[in-house]
Amino acid sequence: MFQKYINSRCGIVRGLSFLVLLVILWSYFYDSAITEAVLASALRQSTPLALGALCGLMGERSGVINIGIEGQMLLSAFVGFLVSVWTGNLLFAVLTGVATGAVIGLLLAFMSVSLRIDQILGGTVINILGFGLTGYFYQVGLNTKGKLQSISLGPLQDIPLLGPVLFNNPPITYLTLVLVLVVHYVLFHTHWGLRTRAVGEHPRAVDTLGINVFLMRYTNVVLGGAIAGLAGSFLTLEAVGSFERGMTNGRGFVALAVMIFGKWTPIGSWGAALLFGLAIALQTQLQFGGQTIPHQFIGMLPYLLTVVVLAGFVGRARPPAAVGTPYTKE
């Protein structure tokens, strides 16, 4: 019977979530203020990862690998920041960040759909370009007049534990939760989503039915880019309020792992992003508190856990069949 639970991946994931929940409750009774702070921070840390994973999975569901998420985020973070410095209008700044992501997405789509470049290579070009351009045009001492502030959702905020964590967040964090649901709905419950998934599995068949494979891929990669742009805007305009060289710090790559951990589904990816976010938040917390475990061990925990889980339980995660192969019309 025990073996059955080991074998069923669902059982393990449920067991794991239950365990995490127990630990959270226990620590809440132990010290409620710190628990709330850590959980709130976990949610915010998970935001760019969840958005990055959404970007990745939209591309991959339509058959385009995007390893350039890191570069997309970095460039959008930079452009969004600059616009915020110049205009002082945060909403406009976020929108330009999103637009930047979309434009880079267009570049990626052009490379991998039209030019039919090796898609890993196309993503690498975007990553290096991101580091180069933001580094070259970086100026020391630029400061914005502020960042996006938390909006509390009235009475909901007073619910113990959940209130301060879920209902007192800045706008992009809320928007991420909405986007996860929207992308899930679009991908699995609309004609558009069915077509997207079909293009990622068997483009030839979809083409015979008169659906434009190139257009589907272009649209998905560009929309994904816009979401990555939102992740970039989150970093400069909501989380930190300033720009540093290479400030994405590998989040784009972790987002890829989050996407695969979540088996190319929005909801699964969101769960994986939360797990990573929790570990990052714990690591930061431990660095400040007097503790006996070196923070590096907590820091590497989610990564090790991913390896173990992938090896044992989600090993056969199946990507879309046509991912990575450019389509040629006959």
């Binding site: 070009v125 790559f253 992938l310």
Partner: protein
Amino acid sequence: MINPFHFLKKVWLTIDIPCAAVFLSAAIGAVLLNFSGANPLDAYGALFQGSFGGMSALGRTLEKATPLIFSGLAVAFAFKAGLFNIGTQGQLLFGALAAAVAGFGLAGMPGWLHAPLALLIGAFAGGIYSAVQGALKAYTGSHEVITGIMLNYVAINLTDYLTNGPLKDDTPGNIIARTPLVMETSWLHRIGSFPVGFGLALIASLVVWWFLERTTFGFEISTVGHNSHAASYAGMNVKLIIVWTMLLSGILAGFGGAVETLGVVHRYQPGFNIGLGFEGITIALLGKTHPVGVVLAALLVGAMKAGSSQMQFHAGVDKAIIDVILALILFFVAADVLIRKILRRRETKGEKVLFSTGWSK
């Protein structure tokens, strides 16, 4: 009998597109420099002066190119089996740390033994770490890109912990997380201004070429890369080949880290090796996964890195322009369709090279 004219023509046909890509990227870079108010001629002049102007500049170029050759070879080697070894960074870190430990830990050894031994220990540390990734791929099916990214972060955290804890330099007054200096018997010296490590890198690329082109095992590796089903139908043990490929790729990466520790930094200090592994991906792609291409690509990137300080100092141009130019070069090499139109040249047979095989295999 090799006709020299035909040989030269063949060489030209392999390098014409990369050369055109470099010139085109430099031209676009010049436009960008001009647009941001710098003088492109001054900048490129200083860049060239800092990388090839004089023996010490040349030595610096070779020194910068050395770890890139190793990490580039590591990535290119794995590409041959259709594997994308993004974990090169972590393997290189372990190689660098293990070589440092061997360098300061093994006391009283003669120089002819100490340095090679430290190098080998570093190489194997990288190899073992990579073999774990290979075994996970082969026997559990977890994708090497994901395990690679994960193990990179594990390596960064673990080496950070070790250099700030058990292996920390205990000289009085030291507050930096770093290991003690390695003993001079384990140093890789320079002959004149020629770093010994660069010689090792050249030998390594020759060995890789020979291994891939002239041995049965090399043939098996590329067969697995082209079609793993066919390979397994032909009786090859695909799983074992995957593990071995990752092991050897990791050994190359570990070597790179070890050479950097023993030849340049002389200790392990977090942050000194960051990026060397990731740059291996660029080098392998730029060199089209061929060992000679890898060396040339590493020399190009090494020269740009070596000259960039001079450029920043004399022409007042930020170093980051190097990355922009590099990305453009990579783009034009990959998008050879564009350049073929300019050079009016068709694709010759067998010119396409295999990189990764997507996520699915």
